[in-house]
């Protein structure tokens, strides 16, 4: 096993393991902490794909900003733990889980069969692509309009959040 494989396996196990922990923990605070672990392992996976800029943004924006927001809201609401996870194992839930698992198995089955003519990764090219320079160049030339529209999305979100969280609409 090469170093690359070992690093990938560790990150993949962390990714799947923390995702399972997120959806099974009763305390929302613990779930948030496992989600942060999940985001860090995902940032590591981005690094194995030579996407440095996306990896940094993942940690700054997701693990840094969005998760602090989640923790803040959970602390603010002072939620109790959910009664019991197995409180109601209803037929509908089991059907949901079963169907999801079936979809996953189908996807993995298809992936297992699409064999040899896969694109081969050019590491030098990928390294060049993932740099801030290359992302910035694409963002401010080909994707300038979508980039500007993003600012409208953000301002609408800020105004919306303030209006929704206000005590009374007067």
């Amino acid at each position: 096993m090469t170093v690359e494989t070992i690093v990938f396996v560790i990150l993949a196990v962390l990714f799947v393991g923390s995702a399972i922990m997120v959806i099974t923990r009763r305390s929302p605070v613990l779930a948030v902490l496992y989600l942060i672990l999940n985001f860090f392992s995902l940032a590591g996976l981005y690094l194995t794909l030579q996407a440095q800029f996306i990896a940094v943004i993942q940690i700054l924006v997701y693990a840094g900003a969005i998760m602090v927001l989640f923790l803040f809201v959970i602390m603010l609401l002072n939620l109790r733990d959910e009664e019991r996870l197995t409180e109601k194992i209803s037929v509908r839930k089991m059907i949901g889980v079963g169907l999801s698992a079936a979809v996953l198995l189908q996807v993995l089955y298809v992936l297992g069969f699409s064999g040899s003519d896969l694109p081969v990764r050019d590491v030098a090219r990928a390294e060049e692509l993932g740099s801030v320079e290359s992302i910035g160049k694409a963002l401010f030339t080909d994707f300038l309009f979508p980039f500007e529209v993003t600012s409208i999305v953000l301002i609408v979100a800020i105004v919306g959040a303030v209006i929704l969280a206000k005590k009374k609409l007067d």
Binding site: V16, N38, L42, I54, I57, L69, L79, V97, T150, A161
Partner: protein, 100 residues
Amino acid sequence: MIDLHTYLGLSATGFILGVIGVVTRRNAIIVFMSIELMLNSVNLTLVAFSSFLGDATGQILVFFVMTVAAAEAAVGLAIIIALFRNKQTVNIDEINILKW
């Protein structure tokens, strides 16, 4: 060298775990976190394709997905706070005023 399949399979696993979280959990905040899990798994697919095909567009798309996810988290958490203020609960089984 890890091939594209492995990344796609890992990403599909993460996505399905998010789906299972959404269908089984009753705490609105944890449902929300499961949605973030799904968004991130899709991001992994995009970055993997971008890196393997040598095209930066996938990574730009991830950038936009993150922006929209940030906006969605802000508005969604504000909605959860407003709900909690009105009903004293975030259990989505008890929030059913739009159900007929």
